[in-house]
Symmetry: C2
Subunit: 261 residues, 2 copies
Amino acid sequence: MSGTRPRRLIAVPLPALPEVRPGDDLGGMIVGAWRALAEADPELAPAPGDVLVVTQKVVSKAEGAIVDLRTVEPRPEAVAFGERWKRDPRQVEVVLREAVEVIRMEKGVIITRTPQGYVCANGGVDASNVGEAETVTLLPADPDRSARGIRDRIAREMGVAPAVIVSDSFGRPWRWGIVDIALGVAGFRPLDDQRGRPDTAGRVMQATVVAVADEIASAAELASGKTSGLPLVLVRGAVLPEGDGSITGEALMPPSADLFR
Amino acid sequence: MSGTRPRRLIAVPLPALPEVRPGDDLGGMIVGAWRALAEADPELAPAPGDVLVVTQKVVSKAEGAIVDLRTVEPRPEAVAFGERWKRDPRQVEVVLREAVEVIRMEKGVIITRTPQGYVCANGGVDASNVGEAETVTLLPADPDRSARGIRDRIAREMGVAPAVIVSDSFGRPWRWGIVDIALGVAGFRPLDDQRGRPDTAGRVMQATVVAVADEIASAAELASGKTSGLPLVLVRGAVLPEGDGSITGEALMPPSADLFR
């Protein structure tokens, strides 16, 4: 990679998708939405270097990563936590079932490590935006694989293989508010390792590894927004680290490197 | 604010600045750079809703928030940590002087809380990209105030008051890599509080507060890049929460809410 950067980054939402349900052909729906976008503006047809950002919610729904809360029997710990903090104890139960490690469970907040290795609030279990009020979505079983599937489908049907990100909204310690990050990627490497590259003063930077995939997910969120029903965003103009990367393989800190447990 | 979102987000770097030195008129340099951008493309002249993202490094330099390491006498703790982890003990000393609380100091990493309330690696003390090899930059004393000063200056000279973000690169627990976030803002509120706003299924979302300012800082980083010498980026098309906000007043979690100390 060179230090040259693009003149302009753009992020454009694709047309809205209909409600996604378990077993739906999400790849086909995405191809249809991108074709509609390209019909309205031919410059936005898939091109090399494009990134398609897909929110976790539609991926989880299509993959059937959904739990009907009416089938969930909360353990006593989930009932107590739910009563104390005014949370649905059945949802708390699902969060605990999805956890390989509970990092924090206090002040109404549950931070867990999921089987895939993500550390996040509620293990990614999410109540909002699901069609039925009594269901929650889980994280996709393997978001990198989900991203690869979408990328391959677009390549097959549209002749160009874009980079793909499956995104989700995560909170951060020490700062209020959520930002969108990458749960899974395909077609590029999520980290831009600039260590050893000279900075503008000609010195070698010691510790600059930029989480490019996370920044792209955040840019996409700005273009679509949480309440808009626009789960697909095209981001064009980012410099993508070349290679065949993954989030679980490269971007998640192993517990041994983790200072906050 | 409405739930309507823009059709397109763009992020465009302004022309490069010359090396910034203590006492330089950064506001004037920014106005000059923006005028040059607008001359090349009149559509990019300042317009309502624009955000100008300015990296911390040039703000710190112009404000003289710089320490010459040759004047620093490291305490024994800084010498020991430096020897063990191959870090400049004088820089470790500066980090400790800038800290009101040391959150972690292990595995070669120092996480502190600064007087302004930021929790970050090395208290924001940064060695790279400073003109002389023997200096480090500190965080600006009050980045919200710095942002307000830049906004007022642009308004006075160019007739439009853009939103302004002073950005920096922060790491995050649990994930590798840094992302750009907002240290200070002017002309909008950094958090988009969507609690109580109906989601696409018509239900009221319980806990969605989007850190819009941080996402804009990340989008700007994608357009400029760390090694490019482009410290100014125009971001257009984001929906900005209205009001007169600040990062230190709204976006930083107080220690009482903090689960990770």
